[in-house]
């Protein structure tokens, strides 16, 4: 049932990212929404199997985008591993930790982007506007990703309750 939740969540975010975000003008500084998903599994799950889920997310995004092959897989896996390891050092509920790693995750993805584009174009070609744009995305990520993580967490709790109720009813347990 958990798998179903993560499937719906990732499908929802992929579709919003590819159909709605590019259409809405004020969302042009929006970061990659799938980072929310990656951060959620790295912060709130402890099973190592989720790395496969992160790889699947990266693969899907690589297929749907014109980015160089492997860009999203690499970004998501490294974000996942980095946050997963940091979680053991700093408490995941720390109020400053989540905004900082949110901004860090967006910056990390930009780092991979700069690397792939440098290799692709054989040299530096980023304009000041590009750097400003990246900065804006990091700032938006700092404020927005923690809020979205709270929303996803609420949805997950709601989903768990519903599933518990359904499975409880099936087993004849009255709550």
């Amino acid at each position: 049932m958990n798998a179903l939740f993560y499937l719906f969540l990732s499908l929802f975010l992929v579709i919003v990212q590819t159909t709605l975000v590019p259409e809405i003008a004020f969302l042009n500084c929006c970061f990659d929404l799938l980072i929310v998903n990656v951060l959620y599994v790295s912060l709130f799950t402890s099973h190592g199997i989720f790395i496969l889920y992160v790889v699947a997310l990266g693969w899907t995004m690589d297929c749907l985008s014109g980015v160089p092959s492997g860009f999203y897989i690499s970004s998501y896996v490294w974000i996942y591993l980095f946050v997963f390891m940091l979680r053991h050092v700093i408490h995941a509920g720390n109020f400053i930790f989540i905004p900082v790693i949110s901004a860090g995750a967006v910056a990390m993805e930009h780092g991979f982007l700069i690397f792939t584009l440098l290799v692709k174009q054989d040299g530096w070609f980023f304009s000041t506007a590009d750097i400003v744009f990246m900065g804006k995305q990091i700032v938006v990520g700092f404020f927005m990703i923690p809020l979205l993580l709270v929303v996803v967490n609420k949805c997950k709790k709601g989903w768990d309750k519903k599933i518990q109720r359904v499975t409880g009813r099936k087993m004849g347990i009255r709550g």
Binding site: V14, T18, D32, C63, V119
Partner: protein, 278 residues
């Protein structure tokens, strides 16, 4: 012999290096499109299509309301424009007939009919750093990699990946896109290169060529991809640096990619061929 920590460190460095090498190969286009990639596109695209169609339907209802308000005012203007266009059409018909006569005269074959497939835009690139979009036609509709994609206003881009019923199109505004082009009035040649913004660069136009703001840029057809004469955009800025061999020209694309909903894909593309006379 080695401590656990040392082995872990070596392993970590190896993994990071392997990842960077893979990314570098991927950036150079060394990783081919696999069946799994096509399958992933085929699985996700129907959902994208459903959401896009729903949002389009909502937008249409809104747009129809506002359109009907201004339609009466626009009608008067359009009637005047129609009168002028009718006169132009008559003139064009005459010119077409004359062209036909002259073509026969110089032994040119008539251009073969173009087969075009109409497609709907169902999704955009999730990354703001790349300009691609998904359309709802694929190899089942006769599409393959490399085909040119146009809209009523002009060139849109080129098909770069094809799945069963869906394809990905690289837009001319992408940094990886380039189109061989001409200035329509002066026939100055250059390459239109994407910049990931609404404008493109018109590169390699020699300093001696006359390019002015407002000039139309059209496809030259020399790249063997885009049909000759299809509009690309209008010149919005020209800079001539004293030391440079070429001019710096910026072009605003004819197609508004933010509002683009339908496109045409040239499935069969053939130009006029000259008869070889013994």
């Amino acid at each position: 012999m080695f401590s656990k920590r040392f082995v872990f460190l070596i392993l970590a460095v190896f993994v990071v290096l392997a990842n960077l090498v893979y990314l570098a190969v991927g950036s150079k286009g060394g990783v081919p499109v696999s069946r799994l990639e096509r399958l992933t596109i085929a699985l996700v695209a129907p959902f994208q299509m459903a959401v896009t169609r729903t949002t389009d339907a909502v937008q249409d209802v809104w747009a129809v309301y506002f359109a009907s308000v201004s339609a009466a005012r626009e009608n008067k203007m359009l009637k005047k424009a129609l009168a002028l266009a009718t006169a132009d059409q008559n003139r064009c018909r005459e010119l077409a007939l004359e062209n036909q006569r002259l073509r026969k005269f110089i032994y040119f074959k008539q251009a073969e009919a173009q087969i075009m497939v109409a497609a709907k835009v169902i999704a955009r690139d999730p990354s703001p750093w790349f300009s691609t979009m998904m359309i709802d036609k694929g190899n089942q509709d006769g599409l393959c990699k490399g085909l040119p994609v146009v809209a009523a206003q002009g060139i849109v881009g080129q098909v770069v990946a094809v799945a069963g019923r869906y394809s990905r199109v690289l837009l001319i505004t992408d940094r990886n896109s380039s189109v061989d082009a001409l200035v329509q009035s002066t026939r100055a040649r250059g390459i239109v290169q994407g910049d990931n913004t609404e404008t493109c660069f018109f590169d390699y136009a020699l300093r001696k060529e006359t390019v002015t703001v407002g000039d139309d840029i059209v496809a030259s057809g020399l790249d063997q991809i885009f049909p000759k004469g299809v509009s690309i955009g209008k010149v919005v800025d020209v800079k001539k640096e004293n030391s440079d061999l070429f001019q710096h020209v910026r072009v605003k694309t004819s197609v508004d990619f933010n509002t683009l909903e339908e496109v045409l894909v040239f499935v069969k593309q053939t130009g006029p061929t000259e008869d070889v006379r013994p």
